[in-house]
Each structure stands twice: as C-alpha cells, then as structure tokens.
C-alpha cells in the first residue's frame, strides 16, 4: 500500500516553502502561526538560508522585503493581529513589486480575540489590508496536502507577478494532524526568478501588466527600489503621465492575468440546481455535505475556491450555470458570500456561518440545501 504521513498544515507549509526554494524567513511568535516560525528557524539554516525572529511583526516583514531585494526568496507567517502590523509593508511590497509569501494562519478576532480558536474572519482583511486599494493574490488551502501545494504555488505566483501573495489558512488546518499519502507531496516546479542580463530600469510600466525582471542588490549593477510613487528608474515623480502609468500597471499585471491565477476544485452534479461553495477549512464540511446529499438523492454541485483573490470569476460563472440556489459556508458572518452575491445575479444566495470556534458541521449545510 502507498506510504502515508501523519502531518499538520504548518509542517506541510514549511515543507512546501523549502521545496519552493525559500531562502529567507522572518517572523514573530504568535499563536497559531508559531510552529511555522519554529520550524523555519530550525530548518532554513540547514539548507543555506537565513531565518530570524524579528523584534516585532513590522520588522519581520520589513526584513523579508529587504532580503528579497538582496536576492532571497522570502516567506513570513503570522495571524490576524500580526497582519494588522504587516499592513504598511504589504503596501510597500505591492508598490516596490516584491515577490513575497505571507502566511496568515487565521484565528478568531477582532483584537486579541481567540488565539486558539478557528475562524475565517480575515478574508476581506487580507484583500484590502493596506492603503491604496490595489489587487492582491490570496490562496486558501483546503486540506493539509493543499497547504504544501499552494505554498509552492504562492511562491510561483509571487515570482510570476513580482508581488506579495497571501496563503490564507487557519488554526484548525495548521495545527490538526491529518493523514496524507506521500505521493501527494510531489513538488511542482516553481519558476526561477527572472533577473536581468543587462543594466536597465528596475521598473517597467508599458505595456501595462508587463512584469519587469527583478534586479537584485549586489548583482553587478546599481539597483534602485522605492515605495514612493516613482518613474521606471525608481525616482520619485509628480508627473501625472508616469503616476497614471504606474498605477495602471500595478492593477493590470494581476487583473489582466486572472486566468493564470484562478484555482478551484469544482465538483459538478448532473442537472444540479444548487451549488455549495466553501474554502479553506470549511471545504471539508462542503465535501461531506455534498456526499451525504447525493447519497440521499439530491443533485448538488460544489465549488472549493483555492484562489480567493482575485475572485475566480470564470470558474464561478461556470459553476453557477444552471443553478438557482447557492449556499456559501464560511467561519465568519458572510465575508465571501457578499462577493458571490455580486456575481450570482437573481439566484438565492444563502450563508452558512459559524463564529463560536467550532467548525461548520455538514448538517448545517444540509439544512441550508
């Protein structure tokens, strides 16, 4: 029989990061993300990388951004309260076009909230968590094997689009041990960083959406980096033409390439009138409920969303076709449901929620069908 592993999401994320070629990690202790910090502190120096516990979350993500500009492939991990402190530097990574993987192991908020309590309350927070209102990529693993694969995918997309990519998990997914077939941990290729062969500008805006090679410090040419509104040479500009081109570019490089980012697990039932949507830890209840519903003769489809942002509009439109009712299950008061409502037209959209620290039960979804 195939070999299996008894492993939690945290370990799968760390393994995914190492297999993706991560060489730098900085983080600050916080439940439930600390196991990632501890494992990276232990493992990264063994593969020639550097891991450091920052003096706070701000320093941790700041060091990751600096290290990336000096040639590292970086990741940081925290929970909701830490994302609050990451906020300004998430903006810097967007503006400076820095590939970086940010893991948010969600816990119940607001404020200190419940450190060891499962929740999915950061879904909109990670989307809009920095000033300026620019697109961001957010991936949500739906089980332990997914933690491994989407971590690698996050590194890949970060390189592809020169941007921060969130991996949005939660306490239950990260700290619960589960069984995974060893074969499910086959690494997928993560694209090599595109650097430049000849001297040139650090940024490029035209054609909009084009991603310039990432030039590193200390690689034989002078390289400029800035978080201020800048021209292609990273000099501060007040020229409306350049400002407009920069902002169009930052949006277009992600929005125009949604097809490269969309990731869902669609399970269509023949002639299904009802679609059940879930993501992250709630995917388990969605799968279990759909299985039970079908066993009792209901026709129902399911959609597990792995790329939460940008919204996978094509896959969602596909899954919605032929349905007149949508059930969205999540551990919050309907944060992603509002996005589904926006795209669901006249369909009934029903939310299944839980915010008491327990996971959504399949029965809750069955009742909503």
């Amino acid at each position: 029989m195939d070999r299996r592993e008894f492993i939690d999401g945290s370990t799968a994320i760390v393994r995914g990061a190492l297999d993706a070629g991560c060489t730098f990690f900085a983080g600050y202790p916080i439940t439930p993300a600390s196991p990632i910090l501890m494992a990276m502190m232990r493992e990264l120096p063994r593969v020639g990388g550097v891991a450091i516990q920052g003096e706070d979350e701000i320093a941790s993500i700041g060091m990751c951004i600096g290290a990336t500009m000096a040639g590292a492939r970086a990741m940081t991990a925290t929970s909701g309260p830490g994302i609050s402190l990451y906020s300004e530097n998430i903006g810097l990574a967007v503006m400076g076009e820095v590939p970086l993987v940010i893991v948010d192991v969600q816990r119940l908020g607001p404020a200190t909230g419940g450190a060891t309590t499962a929740a999915q309350g950061d879904v909109q927070f990670v989307r809009w968590g920095t000033a300026g209102g620019f697109p961001i990529i957010v991936l949500a693993p739906s089980d332990v094997a997914d933690c491994y694969h989407l971590t690698m995918q996050a590194f890949d997309l970060a390189e592809r689009f020169r941007c921060p990519v969130f991996l949005l998990t939660d306490k239950e997914l990260n700290l619960t041990m589960n069984t995974v077939a060893v074969d499910d941990f086959r690494p997928a290729p993560v694209r090599a960083r595109v650097t430049a062969g000849a001297p040139g500008d650090p940024y490029r805006y035209e054609p909009a959406g084009h991603v310039a090679p990432l030039r590193h410090f200390g690689a034989g040419e002078v390289v400029r980096f800035t978080g201020s509104t800048h021209d292609e040479g990273a000099f501060i500009t007040k020229d409306p033409g350049r400002i407009g081109a920069l902002n169009t570019h930052l949006e277009a490089k992600i929005e125009d390439h949604r097809d490269e980012i969309e990731m869902v697990i669609a399970d269509r039932g023949p002639d299904a009138g009802t679609l059940v949507i879930g993501y992250g830890i709630t995917a388990g209840a969605v799968r279990a409920a759909v299985q039970t519903a079908r066993a009792r003769g209901d026709t129902v489809s399911s959609l597990i969303v792995q790329s939460l942002w940008p919204i996978p509009e094509t896959a969602l439109a596909d899954a919605l076709t032929g349905t007149d009712r949508v059930v969205v299950a999540e551990l919050n008061r309907g944060l992603y449901r509002r996005e589904v409502e926006r795209l669901a037209g006249e369909r009934d959209v029903v939310g299944v929620h839980r915010m008491d620290g327990e996971l959504v039960a399949p029965d809750q979804i069955l009742e909503a069908l």
Partner: protein, 444 residues
C-alpha cells in the same frame, strides 16, 4: 595608524542637485557620506543606501549607488534583511530624528544584535518635512509647531541608548565637523552596528522658531551632557557573520523525515470512528493520541488528531480528538464522539458538553471515581490497579486509549506495538503501556 588605499570611484554622487533648503545641514552630511564612500574604496553596486522618510529620506536619489527607499521608521528593518541576505554589501541607513523615534524598537534591536549596518541619524531636532513638529530629539523648552509653549519632554539620548544596548560603534558629531567623512568611514569599517548621531540645523523651522544656530548646537549638547566627538566601540561578534558561523557544519538537508508510514497491517474498521481523550497537562495525552493515530495509519486507516489545551501548557486540561477512518478524513464540526475517554478531572470538566451530546450507542470510558458524568451513552469503568504492569499517572492516557481501540476492534494489536516502537524516546515505556492497555480489556 591605518593606511587607506582608494580603489573605488572618485564620487558616488549622480548629477542631480540636492533639493534641500538653504542653510539645511543635509547637504554637508551627504557630502561627508560621499567622501566616506570614496575613503572606503566602495563600489556603487556594493553599496545600498537605505533611506527613511522625511527630508533626509530623499537622499538616496542623489547617489549613484544602489538604494532602497522604504517606509517611515522601518529603514533599519530593510537594511537588516539586505545585510542578512548579503553580508558582503555595505548597507547604510539614512534616517532623521523622527525615524529614530518611530523606529525605536528596530534601532534597539539592530544595535543589540550588532548587525553590521551603518546608521546615519540626520538629527535636526524636529520634523522638517511635515511642518516643524517636535521629535524624540527636540530639546526641553524648544518651541516647535506642536510645542508652541516650549517642549516639556526630554530628548532621547540616541547614542547612549544604542551604546548600552550593544552597538559596535557609536559617535555623535555635527554637520559642521571637518572629520565627519572619516568618522563615517570608521563606523563602516567597524564591521558591526555603527550609529552616527549627526546634529544639524533645520533652517525652515527649528532655527527660526528657536533663534537656533551653529553655536546653539554646541550649547545644547553641553547643557544636556550629551558626549560629542568621541567614538565608543565595543568588540562583539557581528550578527550576520555569527549566524553563519553558528550553523557551519550542520547537515545540509532538512531534518524532516519524508519517508512516511507504510500501512502493512489491516484494520477491519468500515466507518469513521472518533475518540475524545480527556486528560490533564503532563498526562501525555497528545503523545498517546499520536501513537494511536500512527497505529491507525500503519493498519491502513486514515487518522486525524486535534489537540486542545490552555496556553499555559503545564496546567489544566489536555484534550485530544482522534479520528480514524477507512477513507481520507475531512475536518468538520462534530457534535459528539463515538467514544469518550476520561482520565483526569481537568479533562472531565472540559468535555461535559460533549458527554451530554453523545448518542446511546456511544461509550464513555472513565477511571473509577468519575461518577456523575451526564450522558446518554453507556459508561464503562477503567481500573488501572488491575493492570499487569504498574501504571503511573502519565501512562493512563495511552493505556486507556489502547483499551478503547481494542474494545472496538479499531486497530490490530501489532499496529499498536509497531507505533510504540516508532514513538521516539519513550518507545520502551510506551511498548509496555500498550501491553498493559491491551490487558485492560479484561476488566472493562
């Protein structure tokens, strides 16, 4: 006496003129920095100027070196990341006194680590760019736009603060000093965390609102008792070098075992089964659950384990839920387990709700003495005194869990033995407990 051989370019400036107000000290400090880079024989691509925010934060744009212009107060964090990734680069931070204030934690931490970056504090005693507000460096009594009646705070001794916290090189000077370039080069050459607190005039605000001039700088330093023009050094290892040295010789591969468990045995379980094990801190509850989960996997099942314990880990309850299934397990909200095992009062209190929710077909196993469990499930009593080996308190969780697994025919005994062998430093003891647990079947 050190001989300095100049090998690099004659200037590190580009052709952009400085943008600063007439009378501002920034020009002179940047000229001194340029001279320091020449003295050091640096190369433009080997230098990264990390600029903070404020008028001083504009500085990187007038140099032909590599540059990183980030966020207010955070320049030291970016510089730290750059230095950790590329210890061979000369990393220079340019920040104002405002940046030193808002980034205080970073300043202290970089000094404490003695991380090899050079920090130049362009200290003009107020916020120039945002309109002349007071900063952590504003002297007591000084009038600024936010201290209209005079500052009642005391100024931060930036040098003293980083010096007592481990900085390798600390120096306080002024933008008027003839030897400023030499001192900057000296700081860079020190190899560790170097900070130069450079006092200067803000001609737009501080000079005007305080009738403050070059002589006032000297007078204020005197009044405050702030030592100037003395380099303080400390011989301690530089962080990025120390980090690499600390890990020299460790195996160049991750410590993770990626071999997995090969299911060589077979369980007869046909439907998912969940057990809640309710014990206390120190009762080895989690390791017992892990062992049984491992045994489940060895017998072809899929296992999941969810642990619940207070953040003060050495006290209170420790409750683990073990799920075993012939198919892959999805984590879902479960109201009641198929079996509940109570081995400590701390755990019993925690699972009272779960006990009440259990079905009549489910079973609660409890050590003698746990009377009054409110449940519809049938209750069976465990009596560890009847075990063939003497069981200690910390053995009860595993022994009871093994008994329950055997009682329900969840996992073959061989798989439990094999999991015990694989259970690390406690393997021998665990093997003995598994044997006892199996024998508990007789007295359930």
């Amino acid at each position: 006496m050190t001989t300095i051989t100049i090998t690099g370019p004659a200037t590190f400036r580009n052709d952009r003129p400085y943008p600063f107000c007439p009378g501002c000290g920034h020009d002179a400090i940047l000229d001194a920095l340029n001279d320091a880079l020449v003295l050091r024989g640096a190369t433009p691509d080997g230098v990264v100027i990390v600029s903070d925010i404020g008028c001083a934060g504009l500085s990187d744009q007038y140099f032909a070196t590599s540059a990183f212009h980030g966020l207010h107060g955070r320049s030291i964090t970016y510089a730290s990341g750059i230095k950790l990734a590329r210890p061979d680069l000369d990393v220079i931070v340019i920040m104002g006194d405002g940046g030193a204030g808002i980034g205080g934690a970073h300043l202290l931490s970089a000094a404490r680590r003695n991380l090899g970056i050079t920090v130049l504090v362009f200290n003009n005693l107020n916020f120039g760019m945002t309109g002349g507000q007071h900063s952590v460096a504003t002297p007591t009594g000084a009038v600024t736009t936010t201290t209209p009646l005079g500052n009642i705070e005391r100024p931060l001794d930036i040098c003293g603060t980083v010096a007592v916290n481990g900085a390798g090189y600390v120096y306080r000077g002024t933008s008027y000093d003839d030897d400023l370039a030499e001192r900057i080069a000296e700081g860079m050459a020190s190899g560790g965390f170097a900070l130069l607190d450079i006092w200067e005039l803000c001609s737009a605000y501080f000079m005007r609102s305080n009738k403050f001039g070059k002589k006032s700088i000297e007078r204020t330093l005197d009044e405050l008792g702030f030592e100037a023009r003395v380099a303080r050094r400390r011989e301690i290892p530089e962080y990025s070098a120390a980090y690499r040295e600390a890990f020299t010789g460790v195996a160049e591969r991750p410590t993770f075992g990626t071999h997995g468990l090969e299911p060589t045995l077979a369980s007869t379980l046909t439907a998912p089964f969940s057990i809640v094990l309710a014990g206390a801190a120190g009762g080895r509850v989690r390791s017992a659950a892990r062992l049984v989960g491992t045994a489940g996997i060895l017998s072809g099942l899929w296992a999941a384990q969810r642990d619940d314990y207070p953040v003060t880990v050495q006290t209170g309850h420790s409750v683990s839920t073990i799920m075993l299934s012939p198919a892959p397990i999805d984590l879902v909200g479960v109201a009641a387990p198929d079996a509940l095992v109570i081995v400590a009062p701390e755990g019993a209190a925690k699972v009272a709700t779960a006990a009440r929710a259990m079905a009549e077909s489910a079973t609660v196993y409890a050590l003698e003495g746990f009377t009054g469990i409110e449940t519809s499930a049938r209750v069976r009593t465990l009596d560890p005194v009847r075990s063939e080996t003497r069981l200690f308190k910390a053995d009860l969780a595993l022994a009871a869990l093994v008994a329950v697994a055997q009682d329900h025919g969840l996992i073959p005994r061989d798989a439990l033995d094999e999991a015990a062998v694989r259970s690390g430093p406690f393997a021998d003891r665990n093997a003995a407990i598994v044997r006892s647990g199996a024998s508990l079947l007789e007295w359930i």
